[in-house]
């Protein structure tokens, strides 16, 4: 069964690029443009196998999204990866402290992206 991934990013280009990559690899992709929209999807029945979220977003950022998602009943153990840039070392640690499983470094593409997802998602 195809694994579902929720992608959260305010940049449409980034969403499009990551989405295309992952769909080609056989994942089912859901997207949200900010933390608020992502949280709304999670509370209205979406149960992805993995969440990939950007850090800096309007309305609700990635760190807050992780904290809020972890507090929801069905999302205690779900793998969550943050999307960071080369220079955001601090944000990665902050994400981990908030309950993220790991991070991806932009630009994420093809082989690397899949490799990392397979490392955190058994059965992917």
């Amino acid at each position: 069964m195809a694994k579902t991934i929720l992608l959260v990013d305010d940049s449409v280009t980034m969403l499009m690029s990551v989405k295309t990559n992952l769909e080609m690899a056989g994942f089912k992709i859901e997207t949200a443009e900010d933390g608020v929209k992502a949280l709304a999807k999670l509370t209205s029945g979406l149960k992805p196998d993995l969440i990939i979220t950007d850090i800096n977003m309007p309305n609700m950022g990635g760190i807050e999204l992780i904290k809020k998602a972890r507090a929801l009943p069905g999302f205690r153990f779900m793998p969550i990866l943050t999307l960071t840039t080369e220079s955001q070392q601090g944000k990665r640690d902050e994400g981990k402290a908030a309950g993220a499983t790991g991070w991806l470094v932009k630009p994420v593409g093809g082989a690397d992206l899949l490799k990392i997802i397979k490392q955190v998602l058994p059965g992917a």
């Binding site: 499983t101 790991g102 593409g109 093809g110 955190v120």
Partner: protein, 888 residues
């Protein structure tokens, strides 16, 4: 093409152009930091963008370019002409990949090699003597560091390592591989971060030994907190540290790792006895050792081993002595300590050896002074080539404007400085700089040329006296010299060749192929026509003229056909190129270590053959990885190197392509195959008894046979080698297998170079004609009715003392008609070879053999078994070509 890719391509073209321009500007202004920084930014962004797509060949080259530009930007590597050339060449390559992506949407075959070469060349520039400032590798794991961390390798819990594995690891370590002891203690709350420590631990590659500990504090089971991690994973791995860093990057603080020195594995184990070895014996052994009588020592130890039980501690110690003598012949102190340990029957104390125990890491350091005699010949030759080229450049006439450009002079100067630095003559640099300055003020090459000639005269030892490199394009021979573009000099020939190459859509080639097929058919109608001219119309003269004309057309058509065949030829690299990645991914997934060797990837065959080869080959390679090559532990235990070897070789043998897939894995056990085949009812009991090992191994090709003891998701379920065989046979190929249990397996496929023209025999049955491929026909005979016997309701005949089963074609085609005999009551019988056996097919009559262009049947007809395809005959009729393999 998707929008993202389109966006990438158009942006990337701008970057490429920008990179080219900046490089050109740098020629004239090599010291501009501003240009350097901009250049770096272009390359960096381009690399980043390419990473969004799966274009590994492109990204790899860009990555190397980026690293190189980074080094230049930081002053670690000097900008030079060579460097600019190399970068431009790399960008040309990237540009050509983009052309291809634009047309086909992806990167095709054949780029892997060039991309690797370019990357290597770019990386090589990073390591030139110019790069002396590169930080020297620092030995991280010193004994001190370990003591500070509070753990010494001698205290690690690796006591229970089986002796064979310990010996294997010791040898790995001696051979320069790093053996790491790794302890992973996940934080208790890690499950609440979406982590699965066990899954992570399982992904650690090349594990030779592993252990899991549970630190459960709860007193009863019910109290256990299942969502708080209480696990500790411990293991020994020989995986490269960079790979481990990458895998464990999210949990670095939970990892403790220690590099294990080779001697730590030398640890005899076993039961000790009360009666220790006599001191006399030990003394005599030590005497042999001290007198360096190693052969006698080995002999004595072997004798002692024969006399004592192998389970004893002392036997284990003796085996270790032999191992040590073999693996570390020069490490006398260690050998002596091990021998001394016999007195006490306790583990050898390596701590006395501490300094030499820790393997010395090679440190990079630039030699301060080097004799020219130490400069390798290749370097000296390159030096001479470059210097001579500079001389030629300096001797060139001034440009049309009458002046020498400053940039050209500076470039020559920079090159000369680089050259002299490369041959350890830094003191010459001052002279070059002085000459360059004069040259620049005079706007003339003469001062530099003068310096160069004087210098060369004074340094005879730098003149290369060996054979010059054969391919060096002479600059003087070219009317005008442009700088920067390598394509204009050394690669000139290639560039011309490239412009002569035409990319043609595959469909067009296929269309051409169909047309020539029709042409051959139409041409074959001419002899009919000539015949009719003579017999029907009685014009003999015209008949002769038609025949003469036919001969001409025939020759041209044949030549044309040959040429089109040539166009259709494709190198096997088309399939081979996907293997490195595939092998890497699969072996990683399986936790195996595999070295892939590809040979003969330039071997060519018809496009259809290459395409037909692809799936079987992938299947076979997967099989080898999955079932052939063992896990690293198993290999160690079997006394093999940890890394399995997978060899894929293509070669041409007369008009066939031979593909071999060889692994040094566990091989196929004929006994297992026999019994499995028997269990599955593929062979009867009698066959089970007398079948030879080779025949047994061949049973893997039998339909419905799956060799896997463990069915994994890689090779699939139930799909076995029989699929491979039928796919190969479909294109008139053969496949075979040889295997030695424990040593490995060799699988080979032989395929025709081209499948375009098929020689078939036309036969007649039930008032219709059919074709049968000639390569299956052994002979044609006429069998008298009286010689046909019925054995067990099957018709047979005896042919040259051999019983041949007979089948009637009408029966095979489900026509309810008897075959027609000739006037002498004989049946026309086609003896064909099917799966190594001779079978007779009864038909009504034989006709001639013809060359046809066989077209596979498509659509509904494509599903018909028993036919290879159809062809048009000279008179316009359709010939159905039978496939006896499927028919019988």
């Amino acid at each position: 093409m998707n929008n993202l890719l389109e966006q990438f391509l158009s942006e990337a073209r701008d970057f490429l152009q920008g990179i080219g321009e900046k490089l050109m500007q740098l020629e004239n202004d090599p010291d501009s930091t501003e240009l350097m920084v901009e250049l770096f930014r272009f390359v960096h962004t381009l690399k980043g963008n390419s990473g969004l797509f799966d274009f590994p060949e492109m990204t790899r080259v860009l990555h190397a370019s980026e690293d190189l530009m980074d080094a230049v930007r930081n002053g670690r590597v000097n900008y030079s002409q060579t460097l600019a050339d190399q970068l431009l060449e790399a960008m040309d390559f990237v540009g050509s990949l983009m052309d291809e992506i634009e047309v086909t949407g992806k990167i095709g075959s054949n780029h892997l090699v060039i991309s690797t070469e370019l990357t290597k060349a770019l990386r090589a520039l990073l390591d030139t003597p110019d790069a002396v400032n590169v930080p020297v590798a620092i030995e991280v794991y010193t004994e001190d560091a370990l003591t500070v961390k509070g753990i010494s390798w001698s205290e690690l819990p690796i006591m229970d390592l089986p002796e064979t594995i310990a010996m294997g690891l010791h040898r790995c370590s001696i051979d320069g591989e790093t053996v790491l002891w790794l302890q992973y203690t996940p934080e208790p709350e890690c499950f609440f971060k979406g982590e699965d420590p066990f899954f992570l631990a399982r992904q650690i590659p090349d594990v030779a030994w592993r252990h899991v500990i549970l630190n459960n504090s709860a007193s009863t089971l019910a109290e256990m907190d299942v969502f708080s991690s209480q696990l500790v994973f411990q293991l020994l791995t020989i995986a490269p540290e960079t790979e481990l860093d990458d895998l464990l990057r999210y949990v670095p603080d939970q990892i403790h790792r220690v590099k294990i020195p080779a001697l730590a594995f030398v640890k005899p184990s076993g039961s000790s006895t009360d009666q220790a070895i006599d001191d006399d014996v030990i003394d005599s052994v030590l005497a042999l050792f001290d007198n360096d009588e190693i052969d006698a020592l080995i002999h004595t130890i072997n004798t002692m081993l024969e006399l004592s039980s192998p389970e004893l501690w002392s036997s284990s110690a003796l085996r270790w002595v032999l191992h040590l003598i073999d693996a570390e012949p020069d490490n006398k102190p260690a050998q002596r300590i091990l021998l001394e340990a016999f007195r006490t029957q306790t583990a050898p104390d390596w701590s006395v050896l501490t300094p030499p125990i820790v393997p010395q890491h090679k440190t990079v350091s630039a030699p301060i002074h080097v004799n020219t005699s130490e400069i390798p010949d290749t370097l000296l030759r390159d030096f001479n080539v470059v210097i001579n080229t500079q001389k030629e450049i300096l001797s060139l006439p001034a440009t049309s404007s009458g002046a020498w450009s400053a940039g050209r002079l500076k470039a020559v100067g920079a090159t000369l400085i680089g050259c002299y630095r490369a041959v350890q003559r830094p003191h010459e640099i001052e002279g070059i700089e002085a000459a360059l300055n004069i040259a620049l003020t005079q706007n003339s090459p003469v001062p530099l040329l003068g310096w160069l000639e004087t210098s060369l005269a004074n340094t005879q030892e730098l003149i290369f006296k060996g054979e010059p490199e054969p391919v060096v394009a002479s600059l003087a021979a070219q009317p005008e010299v442009k700088f920067g573009r390598r394509t204009d000099d050394a690669r000139g020939e290639n560039a011309v060749a490239a412009s002569k190459t035409l990319k043609v859509d595959q469909d067009k080639i296929d269309r051409l192929m169909n047309l020539i097929g029709e042409m051959v058919v139409a041409k074959n109608a001419l002899p009919y026509l000539a015949n009719r001219a003579e017999t029907v119309f009685g014009v003999r003269e015209l008949s002769r003229e038609i025949k003469a004309q036919y001969a001409v057309i025939n020759r041209v058509a044949e030549e044309m056909q040959d040429t089109i065949m040539q166009v259709r030829m494709m190198p096997v690299s088309f399939i081979f190129q996907r293997f490195p990645r595939m092998v890497r991914d699969i072996s990683r997934k399986l936790g195996k270590e595999v070295e892939l060797v590809l040979e003969g990837d330039a071997t060519e065959a018809d496009k259809n053959i290459i395409e037909a080869l692809s799936d079987p080959l992938i299947h076979i390679v997967r099989n080898s990885l999955d079932h052939g090559l063992e896990m690293p532990e198993a290999r160690l235990a079997a006394g093999k190197s940890v890394t399995g070897k997978l060899h894929i070789r293509a070669s041409q043998e007369s008009d066939r392509v031979l593909i071999e897939i060889i692994d040094d894995g566990k091989g196929i056990n004929p006994e297992v195959i026999k019994h499995k085949a028997y269990e599955k009812g593929l062979i009867d009991e009698a066959t089970l008894e007398r079948i030879s090992d080779q025949d047994a191994v061949n049973l893997v090709f039998a339909a419905g046979f799956s060799t896997a003891d463990v069915i994994s998701d890689l090779s699939g379920r139930g799909v076995g080698m029989d699929v491979v065989r039928s796919a190969v046979e479909k294109v008139n190929g053969t496949v075979g297998i040889e295997s030695v249990a424990g040593k490995g397996t060799r699988l080979f496929m032989s395929l025709p170079l081209s499948m375009a023209v098929t020689n078939v025999m036309i036969i007649e049955s039930n008032k219709q004609i059919f074709g049968v491929p000639m390569d299956l026909v052994v002979e044609t005979v006429r069998v008298p009715r009286v010689q046909i016997r019925t054995i067990k309701q099957k018709q047979t005949t005896v042919l040259r003392g051999r019983i041949v089963p007979l089948l009637s074609l009408n029966d095979l085609l489900a026509r309810n008609e008897a075959q027609l005999p000739n006037e002498d009551d004989e049946f026309a019988t086609l003896i064909v070879r099917v799966h190594g056996e001779h079978v007779g097919i009864l038909v009504d009559d034989f006709r001639e053999t013809v060359d046809i262009i066989l077209k596979p049947m498509t659509g509904i007809l494509g599903g018909l078994p028993g036919y290879s395809g159809a062809a048009l005959l000279g008179d316009g009729s359709v010939l159905m070509v039978l496939n006896p393999r499927e028919l019988i």
